[in-house]
Symmetry: C3
């Protein structure tokens, strides 16, 4: 059993956050809330999302796994305004999710979860933690995209830096400690990432004021932010690119 009501903008955030990596996702439903872990087809990035029952207007659930086509759910979102309440009702016998927006009922077939692997977030030792305003880092990403397809993230005891190198031009966003929300870094760490992935993650995090970045040296970056007024949380993991020079 899964019967819930949720504000359209929160459900939209769940979809947007996940669909940058996968088209379909296996949602774990429990009495406490929903969660999902998914790895993109190229195995470069991962999302780990959780949304507590408090993020919903109404929530009743038993333990369940639902395979959801995010594109289909997104189609239905187009019918809703931000304040609208979406009702979700899982019909076990027909293996369908009944989604209701205003007077419109969409009966949505579910995806078989048998072939969907259970992703596991690896245990990483990431020594630096930077909390940066999402508007600030968005600008840096936008500037970098004009000249390169990868971006370097650096943290040291004094601040954080995002930098990109093109053939003739370079872009730098240097944020000293006082321009960061917070900084925890005892050594200098630097890693290089695909700008496509990183830009999509930053874009998905734009609804959040601040983003936590956990960094190591030539190591994956972990990006974390809250959704649904703190009743939900997203963790992205992005593998580094190895500098060839």
């Amino acid at each position: 059993m899964f019967k819930a009501k949720i504000k359209a903008d929160i459900l939209k955030t769940v979809i947007d956050t996940t669909s940058i990596l996968v088209d379909e996702a296996k949602f774990h439903i429990t009495p406490e809330g929903i969660s999902l872990k998914a790895v993109d087809p190229a195995h470069v990035a991962m999302v780990d999302l959780s949304l507590g029952s408090k993020a919903f207007e109404e929530y009743k659930a038993e333990d369940l796994e639902l395979g959801i086509d995010l594109g289909k759910l997104d189609q239905i979102m187009k019918l809703a305004s931000a304040g609208d309440v979406i009702s979700l009702d899982y019909k076990e016998d027909a293996h369908r999710l009944v989604v209701k927006v205003a007077n419109i009922v969409r009966k949505m077939s579910l995806v078989d979860t048998a072939g969907m692997p259970d992703a596991k977030v690896p245990n990483l030792n990431l020594p630096a933690e930077v909390v940066v305003k999402s508007s600030e880092i968005s600008q840096g990403v936008l500037a970098s995209k004009a000249i390169s397809d990868h971006v370097a993230l650096t943290a040291d005891t004094d601040g954080f830096e995002l930098s990109a190198e093109g053939d003739t031009d370079s872009v730098n966003l240097k944020l000293p400690k006082d321009l960061l929300v917070s900084l925890k870094s005892s050594e200098r760490v630097k890693s290089l990432f695909s700008l496509d992935y990183f830009a999509n993650m930053i874009k998905a995090a734009k609804s959040s004021d601040a983003i936590l970045l956990k960094l190591g040296n030539d190591y994956p970056v972990m990006m974390e932010f809250d959704i649904a007024d703190g009743n939900g949380h997203v963790v992205y993991l992005l593998a580094p690119r190895i500098e060839s020079d």
Copy 2:
């Protein structure tokens, strides 16, 4: 003789309403107002539009037929804001319509009406009449387009329903009597329609608050709504698709 002034938004509605079915139309001009009847090239749908002289700021006309390229007239509309007044002046000797927006004069050649047939609205016995809010049915059409290319309209003594069936998903907009503006139906009637045509008609009717639908069983639908604050009226007729199952 045809000399008239009209608000840009009203003329724009006339163009938009007609151009979903045809590129050119034969306008009948009389001292009482203008009207047109047109059938789309595939002979699936018809529009019957009338606009009384009261819809104009100024109006002087004798009996005339003008063949108008709707695309050309629409180009000129792009120069006007909603409140602007467009002046129209038929020059018989040059067989041109002189259209004036602000200080700009466009002399527009007319289309020969000789080859344009006179459409006739058939006399149909459509037992059910439903008046529905255009915003409500627009949402249903939008939801249906995501999963199918046709839509079923059903009316019975209790209410009205719009439904679409895809390969795995379905969409339903069920409006019981109390969610309709009005309902007149003594029996259950149901017909299937091309969603492309129906969606365009609903979109063209969006300037109107409410839409009258006249329905039968496997029969055409007649859609009616007012334009120009009740000084004009549009009737669409759309042939049904026959269910093959």
Copy 3:
């Protein structure tokens, strides 16, 4: 040495005004301000732009020539809002322009100016001078584009006219003396121009309320307008098309 700060919208105007004709431009930097003269690749049109040091928030410069890729500079502008202040700093040793928007630093390689010719504005005797509202002439250009690829500009003692002839349709914007800002014309002059070029110039001038047009008979048109609240000035020159009929 060239170190300056300028409001984003002013720098954006400089780029937009120039990039309708060329991708790269040679900027002349002097202690009094910056200027450029450029001819489009087809040698049909020319721009002569000057921006005094008063248009800048801060300005320090020696005599210099900087070859700038306008597309690159425009990329950086996308990071700025209209009120933002952009800082420009020429690094002679690296032959780069360091552009700063908020906390983002873009180091931009410069273009070699060796191959860039020095354009010279010819001395023309253009007897008619018309000052027209840019909104008015923009509408005329928009209307003309729908039917033709060239436009005729006419001035006489009574007024100014923009006209276009299509195969079957025509467009006229007739502005008698009282609808012009000013008119100086002792004889009738008329010239024909490419609408593509003319439309781009008019569009680039839209930030200015009024545009000065200097006209002759089958002669180039000179278009002038102020930028940066009168602290800058743009002159366009456009060669005529010769009527073949």
